[in-house]
């Protein structure tokens, strides 16, 4: 797979967003995505493009399909129709083997952190390498020296040098989310999926975590697709926003373009 930024000529397209057109190297392109189960449609044909340097936010009321949308990208939820192109490759067309290979390059950060509680912080970060680790090594829990070095470096970077050997369930919420970030980053991701990273955290820690994700994404040049219900955090940290309502895209634009009318169309009759 090639990185979009390496081929700006071939992968550059002009997007016809409702606002001004923009020219960006594309990382992720979602086309006419449908998903649902038991006869209920949750996503009703959503399309958008994430640029290689985007911190891309999905906002919308509860039940709009934000989490489903994020999970359709790495197929934790199977879409029923549409295309998800990562660096030009349609993830929805992949068989199990190739899907697993593709997932190795997509980091995911979860709302409830989803750490393995009984493992140490270091081992939790190392689980990010399992996509590259053989069966014998996995069973014996023996990771290559290089992986351990990278894990330590990432733990330093997210500010957890002091907690390397603690069990994950001994940490505070903010610290756990930092472990989650390090686990996603040790994958060397080409895309970060971030699912409500701050809803389990208090406002101050939430801002720190968002800031950290933004900084590291810039340092490592990774595009971020983030669903977040806190509109203020979205406008402050993100470069581009789409608004979902009931599985339909109601808004797309830069944070500055998210005015009262746009808010009203996303949140409809809901009181803000």
């Amino acid at each position: 797979m090639r990185r979009a930024s390496n081929n700006p000529g071939s992968d550059t397209v002009v997007l016809h967003a409702p606002s001004a057109p923009r020219t960006v190297p594309l990382a992720l392109s979602v086309r006419n995505l449908h998903a649902g189960y038991a006869g209920r449609e949750i996503l009703k044909g959503v399309s958008f493009d994430v640029g290689a340097d985007d911190f891309f936010a999905i906002i919308g009321p509860s039940g709009a399909g934000k989490s489903t949308l994020i999970r359709c990208v790495n197929r934790l939820v199977e879409p029923t129709q549409g295309e998800v192109l990562l660096d030009g490759r349609n993830l929805l067309a992949l068989g199990q083997q190739h899907l697993r290979e593709a997932r190795r390059h997509i980091g995911m950060i979860f709302q409830e952190f989803n750490l393995i509680e009984r493992l140490s912080v270091l081992d939790n970060v190392l689980t990010g390498r399992l996509g590259y680790t053989g069966t014998v090594r996995s069973v014996l829990r023996v990771f290559p020296r290089e992986d351990i070095g990278n894990a330590l470096r990432l733990l330093d970077r997210v500010g957890l040098s002091e907690h390397v050997h603690k069990r994950a369930d001994r940490l505070s919420g903010g610290q756990r989310q930092r472990v989650g970030i390090a686990r996603a980053l040790i994958q060397n991701p080409r895309l970060l999926l971030v699912d409500e990273p701050t809803s389990s955290l208090d406002p101050k820690i939430a801002r720190e975590v968002m800031g950290l994700i933004r900084e590291i994404a810039r340092e490592l040049n990774v595009p971020v697709l983030c669903n977040i219900h806190d509109v203020k955090l979205a406008t402050e940290f993100c470069t581009r926003i789409i608004g979902l309502q009931d599985g339909v895209k109601k808004f797309e634009g830069r944070p500055a373009e998210l005015d009262e009318r746009a808010m009203h169309s996303i949140y409809a009759m809901e009181v803000l």
């Binding site: 270091l122 023996v142 020296r145 351990i148 070095g149 330590l152 470096r153």
Partner: protein, 272 residues
């Protein structure tokens, strides 16, 4: 010291620590293997009459069981029904008696502090530490031969298991609902009924179904101590050295247990 060398040192420390963890683990496995080897030698190797274990003898003895005594079938119907009824009654009686024991033995709701907790846990241990056959002998001498002794014996044995599982479920309930009922001014009974029972009900039902399943198994052997059911028939066939009859009763037990398995599978699905 430059950062790369410092990182190398930290990785070395971790590698060393992991080696030590592995050495400990290997030592534990070796100790377990040695204990197993010693047990096998002491119990099996030294204590077996190897001269009896010629292939011919084994196959001849086992071969005697390969007969089906169809003439016995009509005599198995009533005992089989007895067996199921005994198991059902014993389970219900066990549950009825287990509820107060669980209440005493759950640390977070036990009424009289440590004293009642220890008493409740003591009852659980007493119930479980006596084998159902021994309970059977006790009740046969108390109430005489027959199904009643079997029912009482199995109920006595069921109390410990059911109450222990329920007590542990009660100790693990989410405190939120209890808090909410206290906050609206509920009394202790109301907290129990609304804050705790709905949370542990699935556990109670699941455990009772499981215990019923076990009691069907148990009631097939309660006959050995004269407590009625299929076990009594089995015991008689053994006394008559009618190997085909023994095989037939065992087959009937198998069918009964398989039926119990099916019923409990669907009951579990319907209730939980």
């Amino acid at each position: 010291m430059n950062p790369a060398a410092a990182l190398d040192l930290r990785i070395d420390a971790i590698a060393e620590q992991r080696r030590r963890t592995w050495a400990t683990r290997a030592a534990i496995y070796a100790a377990i293997a040695a204990a197993v080897a010693w047990s096998v030698y002491a119990i099996v190797v030294a204590d077996t009459d190897w001269s009896r274990l010629a292939f011919g003898t084994i196959s001849r003895t086992l071969g005697r069981f390969l007969y089906f005594d169809a003439a016995l079938l009509p005599d198995l119907v009533d005992p089989a029904i007895d067996t199921v009824l005994m198991a059902t009654l014993a389970t219900l009686l066990g549950l009825f008696l287990a509820l107060p024991v669980a209440w005493l033995g759950a640390a977070n709701i036990t009424p009289l502090g440590k004293a009642s907790f220890v008493f409740g846990r003591g009852l659980m241990t007493l119930s479980r530490s006596v084998h159902e056959i021994v309970w059977g002998l006790i009740f046969v001498s108390a109430v005489g031969l027959g199904a009643l002794a079997g029912v009482l014996a199995m109920a006595a044995r069921s109390i410990g298991f059911i109450s222990k599982i329920i007590a542990e479920a009660i100790e693990d309930v989410q405190p939120g609902p209890m808090e909410a009922i206290q906050a609206v001014g509920g009394n202790k009974l109301q907290v129990l009924l609304y804050g705790i029972v709905p949370q542990v009900l699935p556990v109670i039902l699941g455990t009772v179904i499981f215990e019923w399943d076990i009691n069907i198994r148990r009631s097939t052997i309660m006959g050995l101590v004269g407590a009625g059911g299929l076990g009594l028939v089995l015991f008689r066939q053994m006394a008559m050295l009618n190997y085909g009859g023994i095989a037939t009763v065992i087959l009937a037990v198998l069918v009964l247990i398989a039926l119990g398995e099916v019923v409990s599978h669907y009951a579990r699905k319907a209730i939980l």
